[in-house]
């Protein structure tokens, strides 16, 4: 675990936003005497109101949103801090932007209703909210400490001693955590409900929902497990349904090592992802093979026994390119 000053990031990502959201809630509550019992909370493109709610619910929604967002980003800061990659500045900046943009927007939209008006065009209130949010985010990003990883270099794995004629292949399957199966089932139900509603309302015109739903299901199933193979040709990754597949040619292998991956902290989540110069097939936390390509780019795949796989890759890489 790396030790680094989390406090500035937590302040920017959680404390400041909480203050902003709270200020917004308090401000609106002080306006309660001037507001009708029911206020507009949603507007169409033209700025005309098309959704209303009791003012208390509106304020509670803002409070809930604020609390939820602050906790979410605070949690993400913790997760990211435990890993080597630090999107910490970016995360914190995003959180602050959201807090300011949303609160200014919501507060402004309520403020206009104090004077009896119902309309809330995006200009100028929304634009000002956007500008303030971006300004704060940029300032935070510039001011927050740029934390450098203390010389963290992944040492390449020791190559397996392979006789000149010997051949070897390393194969292993990796599965997403069992808990994801539950999440997956929930998503299947949701997709099913959406599709049946679409069919009920649109009849034959619901076919785009069918296509999108099928694609989503395919991607989800494909992310549940993968087969990883190392042989003389290189590193092969084949996900559950056969596609997508990933392949690193042995000639493109500069070095390989076994690393530890924290999905949220290192890649911002699970699945097929890019983060900080690495592309990863991230199905679960834990051991992973990291390949540094000759072009400098990195490929990561989470799988058990990554050390043996990396060692075999190094052995083959050195065999085909003795200079490595």
């Amino acid at each position: 675990m790396n030790r680094r000053p989390l406090l500035p990031f937590l302040i920017t990502a959680a404390a400041l936003p909480l203050i902003v959201y709270t200020a917004g809630v308090v401000l609106i509550v002080t306006w309660f005497p001037d507001l009708p019992d029911t206020i507009a909370i949603h507007w169409g493109v033209t700025g005309e109101a098309d959704g209303w709610a009791p003012k208390l619910s509106a304020v509670l929604m803002l409070a809930g949103l604020g609390l939820g967002m602050s906790l979410l980003f605070g949690g993400m800061i913790f997760a990211a801090a435990r890993s080597r990659q630090q999107p910490l500045r970016f995360l914190a900046a995003i959180s602050l932007f959201s807090a300011i943009f949303l609160t200014v927007l919501i507060v402004w939209s309520v403020s206009v209703q104090r004077h009896g008006s119902d309309e809330f065009p995006f200009f100028p209130g929304g634009v000002i909210a956007l500008v303030l949010g971006i300004a704060a985010a940029v300032l935070a990003y510039a001011v927050l400490p740029k934390v450098e990883v203390a010389g963290h270099v992944d040492t390449p794995a020791d190559p397996i001693p392979l006789g000149a004629d010997e051949r070897a292949v390393w194969v292993r399957s990796v599965y997403a955590p069992v808990g994801f199966l539950g999440l997956f089932l929930v998503l299947v139900v949701v997709i099913g409900v959406v599709m049946s509603t679409a069919v009920a309302n649109l009849g034959a015109n619901a076919w785009p929902f069918g296509v999108v739903g099928a694609l989503l299901l395919a991607v989800l199933i494909g992310s549940m497990w993968a087969r990883v193979r190392v042989d003389a040709a290189g590193l092969h990754v084949r996900s559950g349904l056969g596609v997508p597949r990933f392949f690193v040619h042995i000639d493109a292998v500069q070095s390989a090592s076994a690393v530890h991956v924290t999905p949220v902290g290192d890649f911002g989540g699970w699945g097929f992802r890019w983060a900080a110069g690495r592309f990863g097939v991230v199905l679960r936390a834990g051991d992973a093979i990291e390949v540094v390509r000759t072009n400098g780019k990195k490929f990561v795949v989470t799988v058990d026994d990554a050390g043996t796989a990396a060692s075999l890759l190094m052995a083959y890489a050195q065999r085909t390119n003795p200079g490595r």
């Binding site: 004629d165 010997e166 051949r167 070897a168 292949v169 390393w170 194969v171 292993r172 003389a232 075999l312």
Partner: protein, 116 residues
């Protein structure tokens, strides 16, 4: 699971493959219920004939270590865990043999005798 073969060795390739898989089972890297990679994949990766790999899988099936099922491929049986329990004994035996200057061939002969 790591499969190694040496085409230069006098031992038939299918036997080397079977031995490699057996070693993985004993070590516990392959466990009951795991599916062995498809014969075609292994053959392609090791640049050997598919039938060589199938022969190795059939040998393991005859020993009761895997089940060959249509559509599912080779699945490691529960008996494999009994095999793995040997893992505790082998290093001890080999260490003792080494200490006495007894090589693998002689040790194998002694073990084979015991089966009579």
């Amino acid at each position: 699971m790591l499969l190694r073969i040496d085409p230069g060795s006098a031992i038939p390739l299918f036997e080397q493959l079977a031995a490699s898989i057996r070693a993985d089972i004993v070590q516990g890297t392959v466990r009951p219920g795991d599916r062995l990679p498809s014969a075609r994949d292994v053959a392609g990766s090791l640049d050997v004939n598919v039938h060589t790999v199938l022969h190795a899988y059939q040998q393991l099936r005859d020993e009761g270590l895997v089940d060959l099922r249509r559509g599912r491929g080779a699945v490691v049986t529960d008996k494999a865990s009994e095999f793995a329990s040997l893992a505790v004994d082998i290093p001890h035996l080999v260490a003792k043999a080494k200490g006495l200057g007894i090589g693998p061939a002689a040790l194998s002969a002694l073990i084979r005798e015991e089966y009579q």
